[in-house]
Amino acid sequence: MTTMNIIQAVNNALHIEMERDSSVVVLGEDVGKFGGVFRATSGLYDAFGGDRVIDTPLAESGIIGAAIGMALYGLRPVPEIQFADFIFPAFDQIVNELAKFRYRSGGQYPCPVVIRTPYGGGIRGGHYHSQSPEALFVHTAGLKVVIPSNPRDAKGLLLACLRQKDPVLFMEPKRIYRASKGEVPEEDYEIPLGVANVVKEGSDCTAVAYGAMVPVVEEAAKKADAEGISVEVIDLRTLLPFDIETVVESVKKTGRAVVVHEAPKTCGYGAELASSIYERALEYLEAPIGRVTGFDIPFPFSLEHEYMPNADRTLGAIRKTLEW
């Protein structure tokens, strides 16, 4: 065990897998000598050379297009999109190509590309260095979407992604990239996709979150505890396919739920999670499921702190499920 932050954990996973599997190739803007603008690919260029750690021209559609070609050819590309906000020039390659290759070829061409990208707000990044576009990719059949909330999960989930054969969008919570520190096993281990983590048990209300919202929800749960409200906190870890069983079991127990995410509310991931819970546990629900989310506005700059879901808003939503 060593203490790592999320960036170091990601970096560690990449080192391990590039060492183990010579078909793993990292590509993107500034990922080479510079080691990535967040330093997640730091040291890889020196360790594995410019053939496997490729500084590309500035074009996300080229990065993903080339990664797809490499994957078709049998490599395991791990493209980095510098900020999730800049993934949209590659949107066509991701939703029309990457997600559909296996299906449209009748299974002939699996396309195991793992796209890494930092996402989310709270870093004073404004419109274009803060977005959380996960729902768009969850809606895209053929992709898996994974979002770790801590260093241990980041490493284990990334290694699991790199060893399965489906395309994955691996979204890294940049707000807690460095702030989230913890013990991480130095050895090779995997955390299975599709399995949520019950971070804290509780009996009155279930709070589901992922990524940078997990610590926010934990804080809310602590505050709730002080008020005598017992909150069960679930870290989803994989958004698609998500661990419906763990979530629904919890809600059946607590009878209440809130879901928390940074992305705008309308058609956000919370809508899906809530609908899925209602469909399976309506008779257990004591109150409507609370959605604590970003607002339906472009991500702001000066008033970012008012935009971001926080522990208070989460606590308010939890209370509301109890007072309903």
Binding site: V25, D51, R52, I54, T56, P57, A59, S61, G62, I64, G65, A66, A67, I68, G69, M70, A71, L72, Y73, G74, L75, P77, P89, D92, Q93, N96, E97, F101, R102, Y103, R104, S105, G106, G107, Q108, Y109, P110, A141, G142, K144, Q164, K165, D166, G194, L240, P241, I244
Partner: protein, 401 residues
């Protein structure tokens, strides 16, 4: 085009000097290069199939020549038969290549281990590589024996056993993918080559540009074949590109750009061979512009009479690639009408057989709907499959048998 030349010419630079060179110089050189790139057109055969004076004939054996002739003829026959099926309501959709068949033979110099990332209008490339008429027609019908399990519209083939990559409808997406394949080849240190096809309209997409940029910089072993057939549905090439040619675009990426008569199969093979050689030798990518013409509608859904004069395709019939190759085979003394009749008959018979089987087969099993989305279906797809299986079956309104 006159208009465009004027544009360039009209730019007058009045300054001179040593360091401060008149920009007119580079302007003029660029203009000259662009003009040359337009005028230069690799041609070996004239419209009757006679070798042009001074032209070098690429080395191709008689057997190969006959196989090429066979393939071009096959494309034409298949196209004709399939379009007839479409017109009879037997087939939902089809796209012909009439007049463009020679450009498909850009794949001639490729080896089995090379890769092809096609667009939707290169039937000949598939047949040349060994894709069978059964595979072809089963795909069109999307039936239980379709190699891609009825997943895509007609003409969206895929054959991983040939390293021919699944065709996509969104145009241009295959171009950066081809560069990725070629980058992979370079990373692995092989001497394999990737080739990709696209239409001249598709050169306007962002995908074309990023692919060319990545290829230029990485020196990946990739050959870009731009089939300039003059039209992108109803849009003429002059509305896609103000440059002198499509090959001229290569200048902006530091790679050679070559124009070839896309209706002259010998010239196509010659140019493709050079480009494939370069790629194989680690000398990097090439852009080939195969100048040809789409003599029929864009697809079975199109009606070109709305947007172009009937005389245009007629003029291009003069340059027909099969006619020219036939002429050359005659010159070379390896052609007979009987031979052509035999080839036609063989293909026609094979098509009839394949069609009869294809249309007798049902659609793939309903449960296949949920396969291949992922390696293993997650719970939500299991759930959706179970739900669908419980429903009363819906009649297939398009079923043709």
């Amino acid at each position: 085009m006159v208009q465009i030349l004027d544009t360039i010419g009209a730019c007058k630079y009045t300054h001179g000097g040593r360091l401060h060179r008149a920009l007119g110089d580079s302007e003029m050189a660029a203009k000259k290069a662009a003009k040359k790139a337009k005028d230069d057109l690799r041609v070996v055969l004239d419209n009757d199939g006679k070798v042009l004076k001074g032209a070098t004939v690429p080395e191709i054996s008689d057997d190969e020549l006959l196989k090429i002739f066979d393939t071009l003829l096959m494309v034409r026959i298949v196209d004709d038969r399939m379009m007839r099926l479409q017109r009879q309501g037997q087939l939902g959709f089809y796209m012909k290549s009439l007049g463009e068949e020679a450009s498909h033979l850009s794949v001639f110099p490729l080896r089995k281990s090379d890769w092809v990332l096609p667009s939707y209008r290169e039937q000949g490339a598939w047949f040349w590589a060994g894709y069978t008429i059964d595979d072809f027609i089963n795909q069109l019908f999307g039936n239980a024996e379709d190699p891609i399990k009825g997943r895509q519209m007609p003409v969206h083939h895929s054959a991983n056993w040939l390293n021919y990559v699944s065709i996509s409808s969104p145009v241009g997406t295959q171009i950066p993918q081809a560069v990725g394949v070629a980058m992979g080849m370079k990373i692995k240190g092989t001497d394999e080559v990737a080739m990709t096809f696209f239409g001249e309209g598709t050169s306007s997409t962002g995908e074309f540009h990023v692919a060319m940029t990545f290829a230029g910089v990485s020196k990946a072993p990739v050959v870009f074949v731009c089939r300039n057939n003059g039209w992108a549905i109803s849009v003429p090439q002059a509305k896609q590109n103000a440059a002198e040619s499509f090959a001229a675009k290569a200048v902006g990426y530091g790679m050679p750009g070559v124009r070839v008569d896309g209706n002259d199969v010998l010239a196509v093979i010659q140019v493709a061979r050079e480009a494939v050689e370069r790629a194989r030798n680690g000398e990097g990518p090439t852009l080939i512009e195969a100048v040809t013409y789409r003599r029929e509608g864009h697809s079975s859904s199109d009606d070109p009479s709305v947007y172009r004069a009937a005389s245009e395709p007629e003029e291009w019939a003069e340059k027909d690639p099969i006619k020219r190759l036939r002429g050359y085979l005659k010159e070379r003394g390896i052609y007979s009408e009987q031979l052509e009749a035999e080839i036609s008959e063989r293909h026609n018979a094979a098509i009839t057989r394949a069609y009869e089987r294809a249309q007798s087969l049902g659609a793939p099993d309903i449960s296949t709907l949920f396969e291949d989305v992922y390696e293993e279906p997650p719970w939500h797809l299991e759930e959706q499959r179970n739900y669908l299986m419980e429903q009363e079956r819906t009649r297939n309104p398009h079923h043709h048998n």
